[in-house]
């Protein structure tokens, strides 16, 4: 090997190392940002995180501000949203995977769901405003917000449930049918129990998404300053993210810390939801696997 060749190999190796370093940094970048973000939020928010913060209503004074109505508003909306979206989403997935014939119409439904998954969330807000708030005269209520959110997360639930249902071994379905069961009996007896961990994981992810959304609810008409809590689904509301948004845009700097405290609560709930999903999944999987 002459000198030139050695030189070339060296330069190729060098390129490789530089590239390796570069893309490693790209990957680590996310970690750094996440760490920075958490540090920033914890530093600002933790000192403000008191029991009072959880039980107080918003106030003009940062020290007296609390997240109570937002917390309850989010809770209301999440429960209603889940109650609406879960059965419809799982039902649609069952329909598409087990009942629908393979034809143009079914293709169209599938394509349509894929497209809906890519529609910006704020557009769902406009749908909610035009249809639920106005046309169906639900007003700017918890109910209108929940319907809007349910439609927003429906594609996510459908798609993840479809995947879970598709993972059910066809041998199990056949075994069930061969024992003289109807389709629905096979769905409830074999398919759903087997697919449940996957369905639940997908649903919890979808609900987490809804929990963090603010844009569609602003369009639907969530309030930013609320001094009451919703008692019925037809009451007006605010939510956790909207409270955070509102505090972030206050001129008084201390409100940023209040917002950070709100974010800690929000992220805490999301963390809890996702850990539940993981635990659920693992627990069921051990049971199913041998």
């Amino acid at each position: 090997m002459d000198n030139k060749e050695l030189q070339r190999i060296k330069s190729r190796k060098l390129k490789n190392s530089v590239f390796h370093g570069l893309i490693f940094f790209c990957t680590i970048f996310g970690v750094i940002v996440l760490a920075l973000l958490l540090y920033d939020i914890l530093k600002k928010g933790l000192p403000w995180l008191t029991i009072d913060f959880l039980t107080n209503f918003p106030s003009r004074f940062p020290k007296k501000s609390g997240i109570f109505p937002g917390l309850l508003g989010s809770l209301w909306i999440i429960l209603l949203t889940a109650a609406l979206a879960f059965p419809v989403g799982v039902g649609t997935a069952i329909y598409l995977e087990e009942y629908a014939k393979e034809n143009r119409f079914t293709e169209f439904i599938k394509l349509n769901i894929a497209n809906l998954a890519g529609v910006p969330s704020i557009i769902y807000g406009m749908l909610g405003l035009a249809v639920f708030v106005r046309a169906l005269s639900m007003g700017r209520s918890v109910l209108a917000a929940s319907f809007t959110m349910a439609l927003l997360i429906l594609p996510i639930i459908i798609i993840s449930s479809q995947e879970a249902i598709r993972s059910v071994p066809s041998a199990l379905k056949q075994a069930s049918f061969a024992l003289g069961t109807t389709k629905w009996q096979t769905v409830t007896g074999v398919i759903l129990p087997y697919a449940l961990p996957g369905i639940l994981t997908g649903t919890i992810l979808a609900i987490s998404r809804a929990l963090g959304e603010a844009a569609p609810l602003i369009v639907v008409g969530a309030l930013t300053y609320v001094s009451f809590i919703p008692k019925t689904p037809l009451d007006q509301f605010t939510t956790l993210p909207i409270q955070i948004f509102n505090w972030s845009s206050m001129p008084k700097r201390e409100f940023q810390n209040v917002a950070a405290a709100g974010i800690i609560i929000l992220l805490g709930i999301l963390l809890l939801a996702n850990s539940t999903a993981i635990i659920l999944r693992d627990k069921y999987q051990i049971k199913i696997k041998d």
Partner: protein, 301 residues
């Protein structure tokens, strides 16, 4: 064994019919949703275009719908959105692609096991949190470098949107690269190629169409992103390419109007639907393009 008496199946058959009709109804809810979106957007948009010509809307360079004299040129909002797309893409596309290459080609198993969940967490952080991060961390950094940057500026929001879309680019691109069969790589390694050469000359070309599709999806996400821009980019519709100025995006405008008390039926109310229609159309087309690319160029190995 004793003989067992079975109930007749006729009741079950009736249930079966009911169940399958109910499931069918669930199945078509998604179609109603799409029609709902299209109709609710178009209804008000049509009313809007009775008052404002489409041409003025699409080509006008001033957007002052609520002041006198009211101007309805949407270009400033489109420009604002465009700025966000540019700066978010500068962050998300290379970094997302880079981390996809690292995770699929370079990373040891252990590193993957730690890094992938972190990217998933990053993807699960609500956009409102990124908005806060832009406002309270990114903007001060920008201001310390460019002291005359405005408090609300496109750069800060763009960076935050970029960070938010990194996981999307990364995971979709990585999936595509993982799907490239190992035999292709083995051949190149056999000829003495470095990992860098295998990644850039074999894997990326083989996964190219899916990588492009992930880029387009990320851009579509950036266009539709709302809370970050509403919090950090400002609310000044402006035709500028200076990222340090306060701007307004299409989504930002919709939020601004929704927060105020715009009466139903007023021109202000209609403008958000016109802007929404434009937003929906653009993201819809991008999503279709992305899907078509994936479908058309799907390689059969």
């Amino acid at each position: 064994m004793k003989k067992i008496d079975f109930k007749s199946k006729s009741g079950m058959q009736r249930n079966e019919k009911i169940v399958s009709s109910v499931l069918f109804l669930f199945g078509i809810i998604s179609i109603f949703t799409t029609f709902g979106i299209v109709f609710s957007l178009f209804e008000e948009t049509v009313l809007f275009f009775k008052e404002v010509s489409i041409l003025d809307f699409l080509t006008g360079k001033e957007w002052t719908p609520l002041f006198e004299p009211a101007r309805f040129g949407v270009l400033p909002l489109v420009f604002g959105t465009f700025l966000i797309v540019i700066f978010s893409s500068i962050i998300s596309l290379p970094i997302g692609l880079g981390s996809a290459i690292y995770l699929s080609e370079y990373a040891p198993k252990k590193a993957r096991k730690i890094l992938k969940p972190i990217l998933e967490i990053l993807a699960g952080v609500p956009s409102i949190v990124y908005g806060y991060f832009a406002l309270t961390t990114i903007t001060p950094i920008i201001k310390s470098i460019f002291p005359d940057a405005s408090v609300y500026n496109a750069l800060s929001a763009g960076i935050a949107v970029g960070i938010m879309t990194i996981p999307m680019v990364s995971s979709l691109s990585e999936d595509a690269m993982m799907a490239v069969p190992n035999s292709l790589r083995q051949g190149a390694y056999g000829l003495g190629s470095t990992k860098f050469e295998v990644a850039t000359k074999i894997v990326i070309p083989a996964a190219f169409s899916s990588i492009m599709a992930s880029f387009i999806l990320a851009i579509s996400r950036a266009i539709g992103e709302t809370m970050i821009v509403a919090m950090a980019a400002g609310s000044t519709p402006k035709m500028t390419l200076n990222p340090l100025e306060s701007i307004q995006t299409m989504t930002g405008y919709i939020v601004q109007i929704s927060l105020g008390d715009v009466p139903y039926g007023s021109i202000g109310y209609k403008t958000i639907f016109a802007v929404g229609t434009l937003l929906f159309t653009i993201t819809f087309i991008l999503n279709i393009i992305s899907r078509t690319i994936v479908r058309k160029f799907r390689r059969v190995y």
